[in-house]
Symmetry: D3
Subunit: 61 residues, 6 copies
């Protein structure tokens, strides 16, 4: 059941995402009492020209 | 009014999305009593390296 | 696989949502060649004090 | 930096969410090489009348 | 055209949201060259038991 | 604290997004009484083949 959307800067490798997906799914299973098979994780790669902190694009910092 | 966000695996053609958009908009109009012109549909193509089921990236399956 | 998020004004009945969910799922199955069991639909009821068109909250119109 | 949105059925306790938030944040820090302080987790409680699998509201199952 | 989703802590008044919606819509019109009527703003009130920074629910801080 | 997700047609320049991010962040700070440093803005560029109004992809209009 849980659906997890993770927005992060572009540039994470597939290997890093693989680790995150496994760890996040396990974390939710253990804490929420659901099966691993119930969890879906989606990654959204956000370019630094598309992400602003405090009003400034990260690409401008 | 209704705003519909659809996340699906990359690879669907524009023709398929066109059909989905038309059918989803019609389905909502008929069921919710709104005009077709009130509905917006956005597609989000998710790479299989960005989608995990049961803790495993689809690209790993 | 497809995950559908539908934002609409609060006030739709469970019966209306049931019809929308069935119709949207069927529409996607037929157009995208997936099984009904692959589609998840989530509704987000948005109060009219939380929805603005053209800069004006719907509750103000 | 990572922003995590988790949609799950209503009914999880604050204690469960607290555990999930801690575990998910730690999982991302370890796998993606970011600080805990960079991660934001948002939970979205979805009523079973607002969640459909395979075209059927969970409340109908 | 632009669709703006704003997640913030619960507790903002309708008057504050009204001001934000007007100002955000105007900001986008002036910067992106679209009409006010093209912009939709949706607010998502997130309880402090549903928002975690650095792994800690805001309600726990 | 506020997290702002803006979906718009692909094609806006980084300069336009920079202006929007600054203006939106300022608008929220002034209206909601938060610091600029609390606001995060994410842009989502949506291709016209992925955006449908009234059931028609914008690319088809």
């Amino acid at each position: 059941m849980p659906i997890v959307n993770i927005s992060l800067y572009s540039g994470r490798t597939t290997e890093q995402k693989s680790k995150i997906a496994k760890a996040v799914t396990k974390a939710i299973s253990e804490s929420a009492g659901v099966n691993d098979s119930d969890t879906i994780v989606l990654f959204h790669d956000i370019e630094k020209t598309n992400w602003a902190n405090a009003g400034n694009l990260v690409s401008e910092e």
